[in-house]
């Protein structure tokens, strides 16, 4: 008996699953338009599409979170009724959500145990659950502490909890909605190992990602959605990344031009020996020193939770420092409040955009002026200038191709990628002197990703100093002039782009100096 056999499993229950003629309307949006989709056991079926194409909606229908206006779902050829997640869980469907479904104030074990029958009847059996979590984690190579509270975990770790939750329930069919968006390349590799193992075990997987190389690597079939319509399904073996890109956006996509070298125009942002605490009460930064030149992109590489967030927040004034200085264009801004720092034309694209960068119940237009709401021309003598605000919003919506029914739509009703575009548009449009960009392309579709990268390069050309915090090594390597690797609140090393290789960075990110290794 292998370890896996001891775990609950319903993997035999779904040989094939088929969605037929699924239609779903939201106010102002046709999110699914007579979509057909199917998955079989033992395959990874990737679902592609631009932001707002309707991928998550389709999967939420499958998981019972949304009810389709039309269409039916068949399992092993027989129609089934899925009216709630309870139904789908019972049928053997599991889902890892794009936006985490975790209870922040509870532990990992509690989050996993939630909703499951307990071996101790009415009492929780968290010890047992913890033990099994560790078993599972070992089995699939996921490191996780069952007794940690979710709020103590980094985004990447939280993602692992989501995976564990689904694995724990032994889903026959697993939907992974952009699981890799927040993972490091190593973590993605680990996830793929797990996924491959699951496929061999006879699970069916639906995999959503905007990263074509991942899709090509892991899937057997690929379907593409565009504006709620199913464009088609192909075998992965019969397609290439370039085909896919064209197919998805509906026209030719080009290649990166030479970025060209930009002269360093002197340091614009200097960080001197900064220290601060973290939300978990542990030290967040321990004496970090960095500087970013005008016209330079400094990449900050590192596994999530190693101080990236604290770094961004101390610079932007959102977090108190316990030592050191932040110097912006020669002026010491340590301890300034966020407004004063914003006024000095420092832009910040926060990592947790839904929480920190955006007000869900505000309209798109209101969100577009979040950082400048008290400034001319949006506000005069304390009064908002609605005409200016509308024009501004319309302009940004157009320029950044934000897919929204109107500028008056509440931000919460937009797809993840489009929410991201609002933040980006807002932060870039204000012609900043310095940009702190944390995971700026996370969750974006290829077109949008390229657009953002283009914009960052364009800003760099304008002489803006950019700090790019990303766990995506490809992105770091593609954009940075220099790369600082951060580990446990300290800078391990700063490597010029020319000398950086994924291997070298990988070691540094793991806290190992290459020369020591």
């Amino acid at each position: 008996m292998t370890e896996t056999d001891k775990l609950p499993s319903g993997r035999d229950r779904i040989q094939s699953l088929e969605m037929r003629g699924i239609t779903k309307r939201f106010p102002g949006v046709l999110a699914s338009d007579h979509v057909n989709f199917d998955v079989k056991s033992g395959e990874v079926h990737a679902l592609l599409g631009e932001n707002g194409a309707g991928k998550s909606t389709l999967m939420k229908i499958l998981y019972g979170l949304y009810h389709p206006d039309e269409g039916e779902i068949l399992i092993n050829g027989k129609p089934v009724r899925i009216s709630s997640p309870n139904d789908s869980i019972n049928l053997g469907i599991g889902m890892i959500h794009q936006h985490f479904m975790l209870v922040q104030t509870m532990t990992v074990a509690e989050n996993v145990a939630l909703g499951l029958p307990s071996s101790r009847g009415v009492l929780t059996d968290l010890d047992r659950v913890s033990k099994r979590i560790i078993e599972l984690a070992n089995l699939y190579g996921l490191k996780i502490d069952p007794s940690a509270y979710i709020w103590q975990l980094s985004v990447g770790q939280q993602q692992r909890v989501e995976i564990i939750k689904a694995l724990y329930r032994g889903a026959a069919l697993l939907i992974l909605d952009e699981p890799t968006a927040v993972l490091t390349p190593q973590e993605v590799d680990e996830l793929f190992v797990i996924m491959n193992q699951m496929v061999r075990d006879g699970h069916g997987l639906v995999f959503i990602s905007h990263k074509l190389h991942e899709v090509v690597e892991i899937s057997q079939r690929i379907s593409v959605l565009r504006d709620g319509r199913m464009i088609g399904t192909r075998l992965t073996s019969e397609t290439t990344k370039q085909d896919l890109a064209n197919w998805m956006v509906g026209r030719e996509v080009g290649f990166t031009p030479d970025r060209g070298l930009v002269e360093c125009g002197g340091p614009r942002l200097e960080i001197k020996n900064i220290s601060c605490g973290s939300d978990r009460g542990t030290p967040g930064l321990r004496g970090v020193s960095l500087d970013v030149c005008s016209g330079e992109i400094l990449g900050i590489a590192g596994v999530s939770g190693n101080g990236q967030r604290e770094l961004a927040e101390t610079i932007t004034g959102l977090r108190k420092t316990t030592g050191g200085h932040v110097i912006l264009e020669g002026a010491d801004i340590t301890g300034f409040d966020p407004a004063a720092i914003t006024d000095r034309m420092l832009s910040y694209i926060p990592e947790e955009r839904m929480r920190d960068g955006m007000i869900k119940d505000f309209t798109v237009a209101e969100n577009m002026i979040l950082r400048e709401h008290e400034k001319m021309p949006y506000s005069r003598y304390g009064f908002l200038n609605l005409r200016e605000i509308s024009q501004h919003a319309d302009a940004l919506i157009k320029k950044f191709h934000v897919k929204t029914p109107s500028r008056e739509t509440h931000a919460k009703n937009l797809s993840g990628g489009n929410i991201q575009k609002i933040v980006l548009a807002r932060e870039i449009f204000r012609t900043p002197r310095v940009i702190i960009a944390a995971q700026p392309t996370r969750g974006l579709d290829i077109g949008a990703t390229e657009y953002v990268r283009d914009q960052l390069l364009e800003q760099r050309k304008q002489g803006v100093a950019i700090m790019l915090i990303s766990e995506d090594l490809d992105e770091i390597l593609a954009l940075s002039d220099r790369i600082a690797v951060i580990y446990e609140g300290q800078v391990m090393d700063i490597v010029p782009r020319a000398e950086a290789t994924p291997a070298k960075l990988g070691l540094l990110m793991a806290g190992v100096h290459p020369e020591a290794a």
Partner: protein
Amino acid sequence: MISDLFTTTVLIGILASGIRLSTPYLFAAIGETFGQKSGVLNLGVEGQMLLGAFASFYVALTTGNLWLGLLTAMFVGALMGLAMAYVTVNLHAEQGISGIGFYLFGLGMSDLLFQKLMGTVETVKGFPEIYIPGLSDIPGIGKIFFSQNILVYLAYLLVPLAWFVLNKTTLGLKIRSVGENPDAADSLGVNVARIRYFTIILGGTLSGVAGASMSIALLNVFQQNMTSGLGFIAVALVYFGAWSPIGVLGGALLFSFINSLQLWMQVLSIPIPSDIAVMMPYVVTILVLVATVSKVRAPSALSKPFERGD
């Protein structure tokens, strides 16, 4: 004089009276704790208490059976809870305001029934004090802690029980998750509506018992609006206790002790205007919270109706 306060009679008096006074708060506030833990703010506690107080009193008066009275109070409270649950869970009604509606309904209805069914104030023989052999003979504290009526004991048993249910059972896990992140709970097949129905009805039931603890155990009368704002204080105590039954107990005791302290201060002719004395428990409760900064935040989904995205 101030020094008169520090005699054993007074201290024992304050303890005993604090424990008695805290009983209705405990029932009501622990009921409310369950509701709030699951994300439902019920401001109708006072109305539920009044109906419970009347129902138990009337049944006890007419049948002579206190236990039947208590059961009726529970039933009536549960019924009010059921209505509140339907309105807030199914109809997504704003919780605070529907609570005020239920408060008004309970306030009026209990009085109306009182006038129509009884017509004037009467008394019943309420639950007697139960002396726990041995323990109640301990000098001083014995009489305070171990010669109370059954509902006082039950209230104090409820505290660890509630703590246990919330923290050690699968039900408690579901309740907490539904109050923090109903979307997450829902995505794991937890029936958010059912859990909230349960906690709201439980809250109503306990509020009914809180009312009964006044009308057929502590006071043995029914009078219109006899709770006199006590239900609202109970809601406030949930915040004081930071959504923990133990904290609620602390708050209920603090408030009751200070209240009985001010009664004693008046009795001992300590020169302080009566109105200012009456203010004391309210002021002290706030000051204590100011002094002990709590990091605990309200359940994230508190007072937000749950609705799936579609």
